[in-house]
Amino acid sequence: MTYHQAEYDEKYIKEINSENSFSCEKIELPKLDDSIAQDDLKLPEIAENDVVRHYVRLSQMNYAVDTGFYPLGSCTMKFNPKFADRIANDSRFARVHPLADYEYSQGNLQVMYELREYLKVISGMDAVSLQPLAGAHGEFTSMLIVRKYMEDIGETGRTEIIIPDSAHGTNPASAAMAGFSVVEIPSLETGVINMDALEAALSEKTAAFMITNPNTLGIFETDIKEIADMVHRNGSLLYYDGANLNAILGLTSPGSMGFDMVHFNLHKTFATPHGGGGPGAGPVAVKSFLEKYLPFPRIEKEGDLYILKSDEKDSIGRVAGFQGSFTNLLRAWAYIKYKGSNGLLLNTQRAVLNANYMAKRLEPILNYHHEGLKKHEVIMSTKMVNKRALDIAKYIINKGVHAPTIYFPLIVPEALMIEPTEDASRDDMDEFCNIIQEAVLTPDEELHKMPVNLSIGRADEVKAAKDLKLKW
């Protein structure tokens, strides 16, 4: 197979030697006092033509779902349907000002209301806030809810959040940001919760236990009901990190499992595009006893009208300038309508099927401990073959396929975290397995030279951090 990523010696945009071609009428600058007038406006000055070319060329040097298989574990890179983009760019939705009164934004409010109702069903929760702007923002919002609830019921001594050592980094970061101390508990080797460790960690200081199920090793916590009971008996709350919701959607729900609250990552579960880093959207759903703490404004329906209500009384406050990441909410709404209950369930079934297929294919080389059923992702370890995960990753990208997540979860040595998603074709998966096999058979000194088929060779990350250069 021959592969080469597009490679251009692309200049800094400001260095392109052409001239501003923006067409506008001449207009006089307002007369302002020297003390306040801008005296050195620095912007690139190039032709629009060249701006377009610059970004077209740069884009070709960027891997994406629409260029190939993207088994980046935990990030759930699935196909972003183009109709959702089309709807998001429809001026009927996109030209609405966030401060327009509800009578004049009924369409957008209906979308938000319907999405809220969908998310309630999907999560098995009673109330939803669509305001948080990303998954981590939803976690932060939820942690503030935990805090406020505990204050309300007079349990101000509950200052700790328990988190398994396999958790996503945002979990402890969000808990800390909300002013909690983080108590990390070790997992069993498969990533499954160590019930003894949990029991030992739970105390009168425990505000909540944050987990994801299946866990970050892709293993379902079968004892989740017992865990929930244990946490609740302790007077603590149970939080569901929705990053892995796509593994169980339609079969069980955080609500059925006994969770009190959950955040969603709309890009992971409902295929909103991730945009190379964002924007995302991180709605939060809670059981009814926590509803009053949700951020305001909240969407409600009065008769036939959708309205926004700003009841601040018990709320944790406002977490965004306006109503949330609306066009992402809109895309998720359209996606759920398109897939429906049957399509979403099939997503889950196929995502899990594909993960288990990958697991079985790769088992002979890279298996890591767990032999049973996987859910949506599978953890392998290159330690099994005495390779560095980083080297294997660079070999994979050199073949024009995105690498799995590496070195996460932290508890697995030389981890590869592989998530094919429901969209992976048999071809995608088989080709990926073959690449892994080749990589493993490649001598280390060869691996260290990788990549050679991409727009650059291996980047010097140490120099980047040492000789800090953050602008041109």
């Binding site: 506008c24 030209r95 401060l99 059925s256 650059i456």
Partner: protein, 448 residues
């Protein structure tokens, strides 16, 4: 509505057989029956065609031809058609955070340029590769100031936008920080004399706005550096205004925060927007968010990577400088493309034409019987307030009925306002408005 039957597919059966399984259910034996649930109540799937028809129908319920004379953090500005062309490039919009640098140079290069362009524009040392929106950027700035100096009081203008204060308040939950309002002048600009008196050893940060929260350009920001003592000056600015007024770096701001929605991003009912976040280099290790750095590859060729990741959640976990993972990368690219296409000439045109439209609207409003306009020395930039007298409470609703968005009651939007402005309402005029629309607005106002 027709529900679709989704077939299980042949390949799936092959894969199941390979796994020694009979059906999908075998994949979920690990989920106990007592926690099973379904989602049937959300209804069956539909064709793309049906979804498109329905979305058009529901979208049409919005008032789609409203003439927008309102801003307040969300501006209808002209978006060159090249911007959607660029940000809808499949390779950008469907990619993830560039964890594997070598296969993601396009995104990294673009984000590095975003950091550079915003640093040039704001004249700040460092710009991170985006925050969620302007207000949450303020929240993070206050937290960052606290990390830097550990002090307690954050001085905010008494006319601060209510929503900003609410977000900041949420963001400081659990921290030992006190928000303390400082007085403003009649025209909304900083009352320096009174501010000085409030600054003491406990002051962690001073938040300023330029333009002020009434929409006026505020020369006072230039004086903060002389009076701030150990406090961090957090300058909230309008990026478009920098075409004509001084940059935060010119007045030595420590952290500069802005809402980037104006730079090529659609209104979209409030989001997603773009939090612009810059600061002095010396504070970089205390800063939130993601940073893209330049380096070289093995052959010495220029390369870009995510750097200083040790500040971030996936490495530092509960000790991270922020919990941000997903940010607003794609919209950062939109804003750099916007600024590059417009250049100086274009951005000056946008700023000047907005001010010209404001001044025209203003002049014509003088003739509306119940309106009083303020003759202040500092000019308005894009947002402005006028006294709408007895009609102020119902003006916005009546204007919306007539097809215009504008006339938002100012004291419902700002934290505090003096009594004598209690009948003031907000309007705005961007470069998108024209003389005929301004005339129509005035006619509509006269008819109310």
């Amino acid at each position: 509505m027709i529900t679709l039957v989704v077939d299980s597919m042949d390949t799936d059966n092959d894969l199941l057989a390979y796994l020694g399984m009979n059906d999908y259910e075998d994949l979920f034996r690990d989920i106990p029956n007592n926690i099973r649930s379904d989602i049937k109540s959300i209804g069956g799937g539909r064709s793309e065609m049906d979804v498109m028809f329905e979305s058009e129908r529901i979208g049409s319920k919005n008032a789609i031809n409203m003439k927008i004379f309102l801003g307040l953090g969300a501006y209808e500005r002209f978006i060159p058609s090249s911007i959607p062309n660029i940000i809808m490039r499949n390779e950008f919009i469907t990619s993830y955070t560039p964890y594997q640098a070598e296969i993601s140079q396009g995104m990294l290069h673009s984000l590095f340029e975003y950091q550079s362009i915003i640093s040039d524009l704001s004249k700040m040392d460092v710009t991170n590769s985006s925050m969620y929106d302007g207000p949450t950027g303020l929240g993070e700035a206050v937290r960052m100031a606290h990390r830097i100096n550990g002090k307690k009081t954050v001085l905010i203008p008494e006319n601060i936008r209510l929503s900003h204060r609410q977000v900041i308040k949420t963001y400081i939950t659990g921290l030992d920080i006190l928000l303390k309002p400082y007085p403003v002048n009649e025209d909304g600009t900083i009352n320096l004399d009174k501010l000085i008196q409030l600054i003491d050893e406990d002051t962690s940060a001073i938040i300023t706005y330029n333009p002020s929260n009434y929409g006026t350009i505020d020369p006072g920001v230039a004086n903060i550096k002389e009076i701030k003592k150990a406090a961090i000056h957090i300058a909230y600015y309008d990026p478009v205004s920098l075409a004509i007024i001084k940059s935060p770096g010119d007045y030595d701001a420590d952290i500069a925060v802005g809402e980037g929605q104006q730079l090529g991003i659609s209104l979209s009912y409030g989001g997603p927007y773009l939090g612009i976040f810059s600061f002095k280099e010396k504070y970089v290790r205390k800063s939130p968010g993601r940073l893209i750095g330049e380096t070289v590859d093995t052959k010495g060729k220029r390369a870009f990577v995510m750097t200083l990741q040790t500040r971030e959640q996936h490495i530092r976990r509960d000790k991270a400088m922020s919990n941000i993972c997903t940010n607003q990368a794609l919209l950062a690219i939109a804003s750099s493309a916007y600024l590059s296409i417009l250049g100086k000439k274009g951005l000056r045109w946008v700023a000047s034409r907005s001010m010209e439209n404001v001044s025209k609207t203003f002049k014509k409003m003088e003739k509306v019987s119940y309106v009083k306009v303020h003759k202040w020395k500092n000019p308005f930039f894009t947002d402005f307030i006028v006294d709408a007298g007895v009609k102020s409470d119902t003006l916005m609703a009546n204007l919306e009925k007539a097809g215009f968005l504008g006339g938002l009651k100012a004291n419902s939007f700002l934290f505090t306002m003096p009594d004598k402005l209690k009948n003031d309402v907000f309007f705005a005029a961007t470069e998108m408005r024209n003389d005929s629309e301004i005339d129509q607005l005035i006619t509509a106002m006269e008819a109310i």
